[in-house]
Amino acid sequence: MSVDVTLQAAATKYRNKQKIKDRFISAFIGVFAIAWIFPIIWTIWTSLRPYKDVRANGVFSLPKTLNLQNYADAISRMDLPLYFWNTFAITAPAVFLTLFFGSLIAFVVSRYSFRWNVSLLLLFTAGNLLPAQLVFIPVFKMYITLGKAVGIPRLLYDSPWGVVLIHVAFQMGFATFVLSSYMKTIPKEISESAMVDGATVFTHYTKVMLPLLRPALASLGVLMTTWIYNDFFWALVLMSTDSKRPITSALGRLQGEFVTDYNLLAAGAVIAALPTLIVFFILRKQFVSGLTLGSTKG
């Protein structure tokens, strides 16, 4: 009995100690969390202030006016609608084709047993891990050579399609890997009964597997959209005309051009970040599960 009481007292003491420790940890992480989002808050704050006001009174001055004028100016002076369109013309087909090709390979590899299944999966996954710099020179030459050979110099080089293709070729490795591990969690019986019913391979894919894959395709689609949207490298090296570049690559040049008007640039940066912020606030579940589907395997 007395042992019980001392044990209980010890447990309470331990719990209280833990509580105080947790408060301390929470406060510490909290201070850092505020520091973490401060750069973003500061950028939004900057974007709402007129340049003249800041110029006259300094960055720390209390604002006389806060408005969205910088946003209107950024959209018209930085040609943002054009760059957004360029981004769309690259991202939409690239994400679609990546998911499509990835799902095809994953389907065959996980539903039919061939001797080279694992090797094929290994090839795609390893391909996705190669550094972009390692493949850049020959791809660049291939695009130019092909363009000259067919008489359309800008067929792939300096064209959205060239950027689309390289994204698809690289990212389909990741998509294959993620989708095939997802498909392994779908019971084989579903496929077997489809085959017993005499379904062709094609209907097996379109009518049976694709509907079941929908959640994985959604997650992966969100993740791929973010990645391709944020890509900087490929659009920079495979395109030479500024007005064709997607918004992420164009930002670098805009930063140089509007280097003095910080408030305008801040508005431009916020607008450019908008699609990814939508992913952050609305499609977060899909983004995180897309990321972790690949890293923890199911």
């Binding site: 909290g30 989002i37 090839l123 391909g127 390692l134 850049f136 970040a273």
Partner: protein, 304 residues
């Protein structure tokens, strides 16, 4: 099973596919495989071959064998290469020693559902979705000569600290910015892994009187082995391939050499020299180890 059984089995399995099905299957594999090989593996092999040649990049007949000349040039006559290696090593040490452990620590605390954990998770996750181009601009607002930090320190433009130009501090400034994103990324990965660790394991450990640190070290960390490997691989690969954030701050100037930008400076444009190919191969060679580690972890169950 005897040989006749196998022999009887085989044609039967083949017959299960009609001609149309076989065509479908070949197309399903063939078309994606074609693009993947043509635009990833073939160029990768060609780059390795090209790194042993001289070529101004104009016509294929002008390629000349160079042996190890490009590599010799890089190792012995290019000080920027060693500077880059130096910077990449510091980058890796910072990520492995500070940023990644912080991400894991955050994940662990947030997973314990301390007060405010939802807000904390959101705050640390936010930078992960932003592009590095936007990240560069955002931080420039804080660190430029007439920016927030210099203003806070009471310095005007004339005696402002040049955070990106001062060689003693710029690497730590860049690493802070890179960590801003990396820590949240690691936190997300780890948090997902922690969700799969059985709660009963932890409770058992704490009932046995294990301290928090012991529980983490002896129970949770070993249970997270696959995630740990992936986190280590990501840490190494990201440190070796860092490119965007440095490019967005320094452009193609040699302001801050790291491997990723050296490759880029030497391969972009029509007159690319094959020294760039050699840089790319070096970058690849350095990341082979982590790639293999990653593949071994993820494919262990398939191969067995």
């Amino acid at each position: 099973m005897n040989s006749t059984a196998i022999g009887a089995n085989k044609p039967h399995r083949r017959r299960a596919f009609s001609r149309a099905d076989r065509t479908t299957l070949s197309a399903f594999v063939g078309v994606p495989l074609f693009f993947h090989l043509l635009l990833v593996w073939v160029p990768a092999i060609l780059t390795i071959i090209l790194s042993f040649t001289y070529w101004s990049g104009i016509s294929i007949s002008r390629i000349k064998f160079a042996g190890l000349a490009n590599y010799k040039n890089i190792f012995f006559d290019t000080p920027a290469f060693w500077e880059a290696i130096h910077n990449n090593v510091i980058w890796l040490a910072w990520f492995a020693g500070i940023a990644t452990p912080l991400g894991i620590l955050l994940a662990y605390q947030i997973d314990r559902q301390i007060r405010g954990h939802k807000f904390y998770e959101t705050a640390y996750y936010l930078p992960v979705v932003l592009s590095l181009a936007v990240t560069g601009i955002i931080w420039n607002f804080l660190l430029r000569p007439d920016g927030f930090v210099n203003g806070l320190m009471g310095r005007d433009i004339d005696n402002a600290i040049s955070f990106f130009g001062n060689y003693n501090i710029n690497i730590y400034v860049i690493l802070t910015i890179a960590s801003w994103r990396h820590i949240g990324y690691i936190m997300l990965l780890y948090l997902a892994g922690l969700k799969s660790v059985d709660m009963a394991l932890r409770e058992a450990a704490s009932l046995d009187g294990a301290t928090e640190w012991q529980t983490f070290k002896k129970v949770i960390f070993p249970a997270m082995k696959p995630v740990n490997v992936i986190v280590i691989v990501i840490t190494i690969i990201e440190s070796l391939r860092a490119f965007d954030i440095v490019y967005i701050i320094y452009g193609s100037s040699a302001g801050f050499p790291i491997l990723g930008t050296l490759v880029f400076q030497n391969i972009a444009g029509e007159g690319a020299s094959m020294k760039g190919a050699a840089y790319a191969v070096i970058l690849f060679a350095l990341s082979i180890g982590p790639i293999i580690a990653y593949l071994r972890t993820t494919f262990k169950s398939d191969v067995q």
